[in-house]
Symmetry: C2
Subunit: 372 residues, 2 copies
Amino acid sequence: MSADLVPETRVLAIASHVVYGHVGNKMATLVMQSMGCDVAALNTVHFSNHTGYRQFKGTRATAEEISNLYEGLCQNNLTDFDVMLSGYAPSAAAVEAVGAIGQDLQRKAADRPGSFFWVLDPVMGDQGRLYVNDDVVPAYKNIIQHADLILPNQFEAEVLSGIKITSLSTLAAAITTLHSKYSIPHVIITSVQLSKLSPSGESSLPASPTTSNLLTVIGSTTLSTGEPRLFRIDVPALDCFFSGTGDMFAALMVARLREAVFNDSDTGLRDTKSWVSKDGVHATELPLARATEKVLASMHDVLEKTIEARDKQLKATAAEAGDVTGGDEAEIKKEHLRRTKAAEVRLVRNVRYLREPTMEFKAMEWVSEGRP
Amino acid sequence: MSADLVPETRVLAIASHVVYGHVGNKMATLVMQSMGCDVAALNTVHFSNHTGYRQFKGTRATAEEISNLYEGLCQNNLTDFDVMLSGYAPSAAAVEAVGAIGQDLQRKAADRPGSFFWVLDPVMGDQGRLYVNDDVVPAYKNIIQHADLILPNQFEAEVLSGIKITSLSTLAAAITTLHSKYSIPHVIITSVQLSKLSPSGESSLPASPTTSNLLTVIGSTTLSTGEPRLFRIDVPALDCFFSGTGDMFAALMVARLREAVFNDSDTGLRDTKSWVSKDGVHATELPLARATEKVLASMHDVLEKTIEARDKQLKATAAEAGDVTGGDEAEIKKEHLRRTKAAEVRLVRNVRYLREPTMEFKAMEWVSEGRP
C-alpha cells in the first residue's frame, strides 16, 4: 500500500473551495492526499459550486483573511511545509497576500536549499480571455519571479511573457522569457493546440500529422545559461470540457515532481535550490519531464472514466432533459445544469489511477529529437 | 480495489474547516472520501487550526452564509444527497440554518422512504462543560427530533435528555428519553467511562473488572414501542487525547451504516424510513451495531498509528522542547504547541485502516447478555 505513495510531503495548498464537485482546493486536496501528501488547505473562496454552472453562491476571502489564516499557522509553529501550491486568488490584493506567504516560507527555508518548493498556477484566464480583474495581471507578474515552477495555460503564458504564441518559435520564445526575465526555474505550458500554430521558426518542432486530435504539454527546466530545456508530451485530446483539470494537473505535479526528484540518480538534487538538474541532463530525462508523463497518464485515465460515467448519467437522467429546441430560456438552463453536473470529474472512486495510471506517455525533446 | 468501498453514497457534510490538521470537515471529508463517498463539504468556520492549540485565526460563517451556500446547491439541482452529516456550527442561528437544510432535504426525499438519512453530531461540549453559547442548547433541542441518528458524547446526552448520567440505569433512561421524547430512531453515546458510573439500576450492565482501561460506546435503535434496543462495545482506552476523533467516528459511521444497511438480510430495510430494523432484530444484530464495530476498529488502528508517530515526532523534536520547569509562560506555550502538533491524527498514510481495520470488536447486548 505505502509502496505507491510518494515521499512524505507536507503541502500548503492555497486555492478556491467549492461545496459541491471537484475544482480548486476541493480537487487538489483529495488528489494530493490520495498520493500520500499531508495537505494544509487555505481556501480563497467559499462557493457552492464551480462557475461553469454559470450561477453560484458564496463568499470570497479578503487578502486580510488569507494573511490572517497564515498568521495563525505561524503563531502555532505550523509552517514546516515542503511544498506550496498556489492557485486561484480572487483579487490582486489576494494574489499579493499569497505571494507574501510564498516568500515568507522561502525565507524560513533559506538555509536549507531544496527544502521548500513553490508551484504556482497563475489562474487568470483561458482561450484569449481574462476571467479576473485587469489588476491581477501585474500582481502575478510581481510574484512569479519567486516561484519554482509555474503552470500557465497558453493564454496565461502569453499574458505573463508578453509574447503572443502564434508559432512554435514564439512558443519557445515565451518560455525562454519566463526563464530569463522572471528567473523561473521550471515552466510547463498546459494544453497547447499545436495544430493551431504555424510551424515556422528555427527551434521548433512541426506539428505531427495527427495533432488535430492531440493536446500538447510543453515543459522546460532552465539551463544555467537561462536557456530552456524543452520537452513536449502529446496526449490524445478528449472531446469534452471538464472543470478542475488544471487543478488536478497541478496537484498531481506536486506529488510526482517530488517523487521524481527523490528518485533522481543525482541524489544531491533534492538539496539543490529549486531542484534544477545539472546542465548535462537532457530535457527528456528531467524530473519535470518524468513527472509530467505520470501526471498526464493519470489524468487521461480519470477523465476517460469521467466520460464513461457522464454518458451513463446523461442516459439515466434523459427523462429530465431540458427541451432546448424551443429556445425557452428556462429549458436551456435546465439542460445546461444537467450536462454540467454530469461532467463533474469522477475522482473519489478513481483515485487508484492517480497512484497507478494504466496509460503511458513519453516526453520528447524539442530541438535535438525534433522530426522535421 | 472497489471491493472494499461502501455503496455509492453522496454526502452533504456541514462542519468546521481548519487549514492545518484533521478535525471537523477536514477530518470527515477525507475519511468519507477514502471509504468511497462523494462528499459535498459546507464549511461552517474557516480556522487556521483546531482550538486545542489554544490560539487560532480565522472566520466563522454566519447563518445567512450557510443558508446561502445551500441555496446555491438548490438552484443548480445539486441536492441529490443520500446522507447529511452535520457537526459543529458556530452559533444558535447557524444550528437553526443547518436544521432547516436537513428538513428541506427530508422534504425533497419524502416520497422515497430511506433514500435520505441525517446523522447529527450535536457538538456542544464535553467533560461537564459547554464550549458553545447557552442558546445553542435549545437550538439543538429544536432540531434533533428531525435527525435519524445522533452522536452525543456523555455530557451532550445529559444536556439533550435532561438526565444526569450517574449510573447505568440513568444512562439507559437518557437514551430512552432521546428515543421517545425526541423521536430519534438511532442514538449512539460515544465514550462513556463506565468505571465512573455506579452499577445500580435494574436494566444495567455492571462495569466489568477491567473497565478502568476501557471506553464504552453505547448505542440503540428504537423499537416500535419507543423502547431502546441497547448494545455496548468496549474498546481499550488509549492514553492520549486527540482532536477530531468525534468527527472521525461520525464520518466512518456514515459510510459503515450505509454499508450495513445495504448488506442487511432484510433487503427492504434500505427503503424503510430511517432504516429502523424490525422489532425482531436483536440489538447486536442491528446494522447500527455492526457499523459501530467496524468504526471503532478503524479508529483504534488509526489512533495507535498516531501514537507511534507522535512519540517518534516528540523524540525527533526533543531539542526544540520548551523548558517548562521554570514556569516561564513562553516556554510552557512552546511546549504545548509542540505536543499538540505531535498529537495531530495521522490520517493520510493510514487510510487503509479505514477500509480494512485489523482490530475486531464485538457488540454486546445490554440486558439479555448482561453479566451480573
